[in-house]
Amino acid sequence: MLRYLQQRFIAALITLFGITIIVFAILRMLPGDPARVIAGLLATQEDVERLRVQLGLDQPMLIQYANFLGNLLRGDLGISARTSQPVLDEVMARLPATMQLAVVSMLIAALIGIPVGVIAATRRNSILDYILSIITLFGVSMPVYWLGLMLIVIFAVNLQLLPAAGNEKIESLILPSLTLAAFSIALIARMTRSSMLEVLHQDYVRTARAKGLRERGVVFRHALQNAFIPVITVLGLQFGTLLGGAVLTESVFGWPGIGLLMLDSIFARDYPVVQGVVFIFAAMFIGLNVAVDVLYAYIDPRIHYG
């Protein structure tokens, strides 16, 4: 196990190094002059030039990259071109809100999605299965933007029950996390259903039934355990997506997370912040993947690393 983790760690470092190159290159391939965008349309040419020097954008590309990498190795993500604040501060000010939203949405998705999938699988081809299939189909195809606004209109404007935006109250979490979870619920339910259906036809399930186990025992102890591996994979990937893909939800609900910071920074061509956020996300995503792999071994004793 330890050796495996070691290997994964080295692979992660190489991946991250590759990511720094890709982000750096892609950002600079984008059209648009950061100095002009940040200085504003009314700034004089002299001020734009001065800003360009201050931001280090007058330096050759390779030097810029070397500076970026050198600072990164010292744990310094640089200074935001737009706000003049350290990138790490900008990110850390918003990361908790994004994490909170992603984790709660993930939990909602798992707690609803898995049972729905199990029910649909065990009642295969019943009316209930069809109804659940249709609902989950809606879930995967509904635009986040539209769903979010609908929830706001119903629960905040018409019923006056919940906050329409912001994150200062605990109940502020409800609408955005439901919105963000909708897609994942549907995906997890569909994944669980198909995975369960496969397993329910296995011999050991028939054996379990034959020896007289109650259906509930068969489903939960024998089938679900074995159907769980693909579901865990989806859960892990979805969590990564939730962390990074919350831009629309954050925008609709004015949720002060990373997604909005990223958007503002891309539009301002704030290279240091975009680089920093992508790097941190990449690191988190890789960490998450390792965690999921370790979880496999934990859930399925047949899986060994080493």
């Binding site: 984008l30 002009r36 965008v37 905040a156 404007v157 200062e168 605990i170 061509r269």
Partner: protein, 560 residues
């Protein structure tokens, strides 16, 4: 047999625990609305060098409310805006709405009223010498910064000198570049000597850029000199808390020198999505918003629970024409393009009436504006002009437009393209993100491939000189932002003369004359003066505007 149940349950339990932990760690630190009952908080404590601002930073209040008074429920005014703060340093301002927020805390020497006229603020009077080279400001007395420091001539001098310091990131330094020397004559008199006459300087001092901050922050040796994160000014409200991406909370400045506002606190919420801002207002979760979804403006106007203000702004919207392209270099062709577009119809159906058709090359709120004409929709006239210019084959033009930068920008461009087609001008309209757009339209003439592009121009302050730079040869891109390459040496000379004319009446006449020439030569397709919609609950009053895309709600109060 039981092996399974355990891990599965454990995984779910683990998940649940993580969620619980995260949920509990939620930034639930909503600002306590009860006024502090403690004794006055350190009046002398300056704002710390808060360079490492975490989620929220706070400034100590100058004084707690009088503890002997019965603690009435604190009143809070809530307004939702669309953009997060890039900088709270007045000097660094480039975004009007951010300046609007900074204005709660930092005040300028002069300000503007609803009509755009210059009014005293921190300077109670001023005098301009006959040669226009010396400005003498007499400052209000008894004014204190939020940290207790007195506002005096020295403080004003330091602030003005800071704007001129090339080491400081200043968004709009241009209007102050004529300043040669700043002197504190006595405690309440500042004298500014110019290198060259610049009659618009007084107006320039209404820009948030010149907002006055406490000397403690801007002392050259202070750590905050270049990077200010706390607008410790003299304003009616003190910034108490700023949660990035979420909100700013201001508390009433108990020591404010001027008329005291009604609300104890003001919460400015950052909500990027226009439809959500509208919902917040309709759900009674905020008292006012700016920029609702423009298509909802008619419905909001019919709703008796809210009031809609379609404030005129200083921003003009136009289609810039590349005046160097063959065909487009003929004023007749450019006039034809102007006649070809039905501005009135577009304003009504595409802009939801959030615009006022232009009748001059600048907004009416500017000094130097005069009504000069109209290009009333006339297809026949457009066609006749094209014929006169010997345009026989259909003109094929490259047309680009931003999306979401200005009110209904891309939709309006589509409508314009439709009208142009009617007179035989074919365009291939494309859109792109803003930074790419700016990069495209600011290419030097040899590489500039666009023929038409939609653009908005909001002068830094309400003086014709700030609009005229757009028509000056020296400002052709990439040097400036004159993206049309309109070249008229005579106009250029007249602009320079008007910009330097000290006699206000003469100056206005000079600008009026230039307006006429520019209007007739039509370097752009003149569209409209964009409105700035503000919507507030009918339960509050005194929410108003300034004609430079700012809301003005400092003196808001309950309607009854």
């Amino acid at each position: 047999m039981f092996r399974f149940a355990q891990p599965f349950t454990r995984v779910m339990l683990l998940l649940a625990l993580v969620v619980l932990a995260v949920a509990c760690a939620a930034p639930t630190a909503a600002p306590t609305s009860a006024p502090p009952t403690k004794a006055p908080v350190a009046t002398s404590a300056p704002a710390p060098a808060a360079t490492t601002a975490p989620a929220a930073t706070a400034v100590p209040a100058t004084k707690a409310p009088d503890p002997t008074k019965p603690a009435a429920a604190a009143t809070n005014f809530r307004i939702a805006i669309g953009v997060d703060m890039d900088t709270l340093d007045p000097a660094g301002q480039t975004t009007t709405t951010v300046s609007n927020v900074v204005d709660y805390s930092a005040e300028t020497l002069v300000t503007i009223d609803e009509k755009g006229e210059t009014q005293p603020l921190l300077a109670k009077s001023w005098d301009v010498s006959k040669d226009g080279l010396t400005y003498t400001f007499v400052l209000q007395s008894g004014v204190k910064f939020h940290d207790g420091k007195a506002f005096d001539a020295n403080a004003a001098k330091m602030n003005i000198e800071r704007i001129l310091d090339p080491d400081v990131k200043v968004g709009t330094r241009g209007p102050f570049m004529s300043i040669g020397k700043v002197e504190a004559v006595d405690a309440s008199t500042v004298r500014i000597t110019l290198k060259t006459p610049f009659p618009a300087l007084l107006q320039a001092f209404s820009m948030t850029t010149s907002g006055m901050l406490s000397p403690t922050l801007i002392e050259k040796t202070a750590a905050t000199y270049k990077n200010i994160t706390q607008p410790t000014g003299t304003g009616p409200y003190v910034l108490k808390e700023y949660t990035k991406g979420a909100q700013l909370v201001f508390a009433k400045n108990a020591d404010y020198w001027g008329k005291k506002p009604y609300y104890d606190t003001v919460t400015i919420r950052i909500v990027p999505e226009a439809a959500t801002r509208e919902s917040l207002l309709l759900a009674n979760q905020v008292d006012a918003i700016i920029l609702p979804p423009i298509s909802d403006v008619p419905a909001l106007q019919r709703n008796s629970a809210v009031k809609v203000i379609t404030a005129p702004s200083n921003r003009i919207i136009f289609i810039s024409i590349n005046n160097t392209v063959k065909g487009l270099d003929n004023p007749k062709v450019r006039q034809a393009l102007n006649y070809a577009v039905d501005k009135e119809a577009i304003i009504k159906s595409v802009m939801f009436s959030a615009g006022y058709e232009l009748d001059a090359p600048m907004a009416p709120s500017l000094f130097g504006y005069c009504k000069v004409g109209s290009y009333a929709y006339d297809v026949n006239k457009a066609k006749a002009l094209l014929k006169e210019a010997n345009i026989t084959a259909p003109l094929k033009l490259a047309f680009i437009s931003p999306t979401g930068r200005y009110v209904q920008d891309f939709q309006a461009s589509q409508a314009v393209a439709g009208y142009l087609k009617e007179v035989g001008v074919e365009t291939d309209l494309k859109t792109m993100d803003w930074p790419s757009y700016v990069a495209t339209i600011t290419k030097p003439v040899a590489e500039n491939t666009t023929n038409l592009h939609l653009l908005g121009w909001a002068p830094g302050f309400l003086d014709a000189s700030q609009q005229m730079t757009f028509f000056s040869i020296s400002q052709h891109v990439p040097k400036g932002l004159a993206t049309h390459f309109y070249t008229n040496a005579d106009v250029d000379k007249k602009i320079q003369a008007a910009d330097a004319e000290i006699d206000a009446k003469k100056r206005a006449e000079l600008y009026c004359d230039i307006n006429k020439t520019i209007w007739n030569e039509a370097p752009v397709i003149f569209l409209w003066n964009q409105a700035f919609p503000i919507v507030h609950s009918a339960k509050v009053k005194n929410v108003t505007f300034r004609p430079n895309e700012k809301f003005y709600a400092i003196y808001a109060e309950p309607a009854n």
